[in-house]
Symmetry: D2
Amino acid sequence: MKSKYSIGILGATGAVGQRFIQLLENHPWFEVTWLAASDRSSGKPYAEACKWRLGTPLPERIARMTVSPAEPEGAPKIIFAALDAAIAREMEPKFADAGCAVVSNSSAYRMAANVPLVIPEINADHLHLIEEQPSRRDSGGYMVTNPNCSTIGLVMALKPIEERFGIEQIFAATMQAVSGAGYLGVPSMDILGNVIPYIASEEEKMEAETLKLLGRLEGHTVTPLSAKVTAHCNRVAVEDGHTESVSIKLKRPARREEILAAWAEFRPLAGQDLPTAPDQPIEWTPQPDRPQPRLDRNRGNGMAVTVGRLRPCGVLDWKFTVLSHNTIRGAAGAAILNAELLASLGKLELVGAAAAHA
Amino acid sequence: MKSKYSIGILGATGAVGQRFIQLLENHPWFEVTWLAASDRSSGKPYAEACKWRLGTPLPERIARMTVSPAEPEGAPKIIFAALDAAIAREMEPKFADAGCAVVSNSSAYRMAANVPLVIPEINADHLHLIEEQPSRRDSGGYMVTNPNCSTIGLVMALKPIEERFGIEQIFAATMQAVSGAGYLGVPSMDILGNVIPYIASEEEKMEAETLKLLGRLEGHTVTPLSAKVTAHCNRVAVEDGHTESVSIKLKRPARREEILAAWAEFRPLAGQDLPTAPDQPIEWTPQPDRPQPRLDRNRGNGMAVTVGRLRPCGVLDWKFTVLSHNTIRGAAGAAILNAELLASLGKLELVGAAAAHA
Amino acid sequence: MKSKYSIGILGATGAVGQRFIQLLENHPWFEVTWLAASDRSSGKPYAEACKWRLGTPLPERIARMTVSPAEPEGAPKIIFAALDAAIAREMEPKFADAGCAVVSNSSAYRMAANVPLVIPEINADHLHLIEEQPSRRDSGGYMVTNPNCSTIGLVMALKPIEERFGIEQIFAATMQAVSGAGYLGVPSMDILGNVIPYIASEEEKMEAETLKLLGRLEGHTVTPLSAKVTAHCNRVAVEDGHTESVSIKLKRPARREEILAAWAEFRPLAGQDLPTAPDQPIEWTPQPDRPQPRLDRNRGNGMAVTVGRLRPCGVLDWKFTVLSHNTIRGAAGAAILNAELLASLGKLELVGAAAAHA
Amino acid sequence: MKSKYSIGILGATGAVGQRFIQLLENHPWFEVTWLAASDRSSGKPYAEACKWRLGTPLPERIARMTVSPAEPEGAPKIIFAALDAAIAREMEPKFADAGCAVVSNSSAYRMAANVPLVIPEINADHLHLIEEQPSRRDSGGYMVTNPNCSTIGLVMALKPIEERFGIEQIFAATMQAVSGAGYLGVPSMDILGNVIPYIASEEEKMEAETLKLLGRLEGHTVTPLSAKVTAHCNRVAVEDGHTESVSIKLKRPARREEILAAWAEFRPLAGQDLPTAPDQPIEWTPQPDRPQPRLDRNRGNGMAVTVGRLRPCGVLDWKFTVLSHNTIRGAAGAAILNAELLASLGKLELVGAAAAHA
């Protein structure tokens, strides 16, 4: 793999867009060559268009790049999209129709029947859905999505258990970080010394996405997992890292050590050398008071999910706590890992109409 | 009721002890005449022994009172106890044996078979258990307890539903304020920008106390409610106010309006004129993002419990959010309301050996 | 004073507008009869137009009031204005020209030569400037302003010292609460676990206003205090209450007890019975680690200013800490106290053109 | 430099001790071979003795090391000391007398006439003071200290200005992170939504240390800088990173660009290849609202100091904001850099009595 893939970022100035830039700096396979944002930013140097909010410096090369209009013309053929759902709904198909691989973090098309909703460790085979997309036949382009930031930690923790014991019921109560709402998403007057027991549409997303991700690809479609699921979503005064209290009912009984073993042995990407994939995607914390967002969110460079406090549940079978970094594993890192998987499967060798200079 | 009852406070310098003082200032029935704390504080003026941490001023009269040793000699016969469990285990029986009514906020004896665990709105009849205590026959003294701060909001929200529809399963995930752990309980380095998914023994207390409170007094004992219950207890960066995500399974089906009506009509203390009882013990918030600790914890002077977000649960039947002020309704206010109930029942007219000056 | 003054609020849905409503509920002299806000809110019931964010309930009567357009027609003749500066610049003169007394919290006209910038305890005599306003002659209407939330605590602490010893140099570094910026003013991602060492235009306002407030009315104009002043303004993760580190250089030497006495004896409104004026406008805290926003901001119902930590300064003469509640003493309460002063001086008995129904 | 220096850590389980371990992992010159803590921890594996609180994993090798008693016997000859002042006062001379180089973060001996208080970029020549210590002659051992966490950022920002223009007066108001007080130092109930305008002894340390650091070594002693200095120290709800509002009066006038140049060109360690020294020790932020602790504390791996907001001061000459990471540049990193400087000067080639196995 001599030369790198050219990468474009849609929504490059937002919180997730910034994470894309941060995580792609020095990426061995991908190189950011194109940045797009709203009309307001278009034509400006990125450093000027963007209020950089991360604790690592904005790379010099990126700072000087000019923000492009959000149009497929001139864009590279691999696009990371970090758009609000309403804008994504309109714009992502345009890029797919123009021959781009759109690797999206938006919720707009996650539940569409012919759009794969993928976590590489969980359901890489669902990627076959891209072949069901009309744009794939017409221009080679397609859309792939990753789940909501609150879904991803949960599903990672559930998958190894589901494989071995089956899952019938899932209860999750979240305590979500403010960064999940974007830079302006949560006013400080709402969250200082407070809890907001509501995030618009979040519970519905979390419930539906979980079942699709754990579902089975059958022919041209994914049959969701047949399980009951309920989510309570709360916002707390945490910068990064979503913590979740989870209870589950299994199909077949499992002992504590068996669940711990399922997590420890869950390494479905081992040997695939995807640069962003953590060695140990699920890390177990034996301490009674972990995982905690400040201490555990950066495990595996923010791509590992941490589980702890496994204990019997008085209502269902087992209960535990799961934590994941919401803007890395739960957003930008998730999309990048999806793109790495696509690259390793040869799905990024596109010959698209619009992607001339890539 | 011409003259006021003389009140003593055990553990007067701690966080709950301070709340007792704050809430009893200008109380129409009770007057604090005796303050006790650890040996370290004994003999000092209260203002010097205590690091007052509340946002209202320390009353002048209290500031000048001398802290007494924590011994029944010289103590009044009504004692509010705000002690750590280990100390309470030893000390509370001493005061009961000496003829005092010990109205305790400690967990030490909550689950003892002959000690009532009471919320006046929920299970006032359980107070009959005091007649099962040996001290009651010997000296007239007895112990009464109120529940854990995380239990009390939950049980308030459940009781009206249990009465009308029966409850079979209870799931609760808490987001608890730091004040619940006492002044030194949570280091700032543990909670700033963080969640601690663990509070020692809290889940066990919450599960057991909930069933005892909703249980039935039968002869000389309380039979706990026969329901499954599970709790996930978490600490968040909130000063005061515990928020809980709750799901429940009912025995008999209930429509949304029926549950709302059960809450709205739940006024079991109406007409009893207990000074600390809120007019509307359960307040409903129709807004989608409420209740919130900062905005709702002070309803009913901190004694009302707020419920919101009632919606169907994908696993059990219904889910909702409940909020209560953990150091008022969940601690000092709970004990004061218990004492008011005891007064109204004539149970404070003690003639105890040690309670000479009361 | 049989019937109450009818009061209108401009900018009624914002953070300061809500405080006006909260503080005016049950006010003995004033009654809110008219609420105005932006076009978006106009015509809606207040409860619907406003996202009520205070910890006390929105009064029922207010909740049902219809929001009026922000025009003088139909408005009462006494207007509390809580508008952004840009809007205030346009709108406040319209109301003054229409015969209203505009009691403003905005910065738009604070430094105008013929507009009084007043704290009743400090410079009530500056109110004479209203007679310099053209609208006063034409319609009877006028504008009066109160200072910036960061200025007011500082000036209260300085005034008694200035009177007795003179002040030559003032150094203030602030740690300001987020509520000072309004509901959407500070994104949580900016302030959780963080300090923002900048508030746009705040230092300039604080420096200029301090000197005007401590200045002398001479004929038709105010000569600012001749002193050097510098401000460093910072935003911190506090909900309410501005804390300031202050150093001062005096004209004449003062001993510690003399400064404490100056503060203790500073009661310029004693005997005037203004309902919102605190008995003790400057409260001293002897504890070494006070004042603190959470513990001291509500002294005097949020209208007292708290000082502590008076000690020698290695560069100037003395240094100390001052704290004030930024949305009560620093905003809505300040305007209400100004209006009470105007009422007591007979300046609210307006006969203005537009103020028909007042 | 083939083999690494053996390093011991006194106070290894505390907050600064943990930082030492984190920063020394993979250090090219130093290797931790000995850990000591209080009697309570002695004899236990480090992982068990220590509640690891950092966001990077505890290194496996360290986790398994046994905690030694805090005695010179068996200790290596280079000791990083992270002890409370009272304990340090007793213990550090013991290790120096036994022939160790004690590189201390404690305040105990910082102001002692024969103990160097050093920041390598500022006053490396002060290290000559170790030759004035009796232990140096007797056993070869000595003590070297680094300044208080609040001093270090200030002095770094002042030094280049002092060199070029002279400084006569210094005003600093700090907003300090909770980690500066150690793990249990600040209860969450004190700091959530709050400011504590007091840190015991901090202002005195900051004032005295600043003048010693900027002082001149003359013969056997350091003459402190002859300047006036005053500090206001405040604690805020920040995890890591001290922010300071600073005003200064210069001896000779300086233009804005001259000060910026002084900071930019300040690279006194260039070419010395000390592993922990940042390339650019003072980084300037042109944005109006920077530096901020969350965004800027990790510059230069936590060893760079960030300055911003340089503007004229209404009382002195210039004012600006400075930020530094309090447990890296302000504590553990400071000591490590001091040790690197000592190594480069050949001062770690000790032949001490107790340091047998080093």
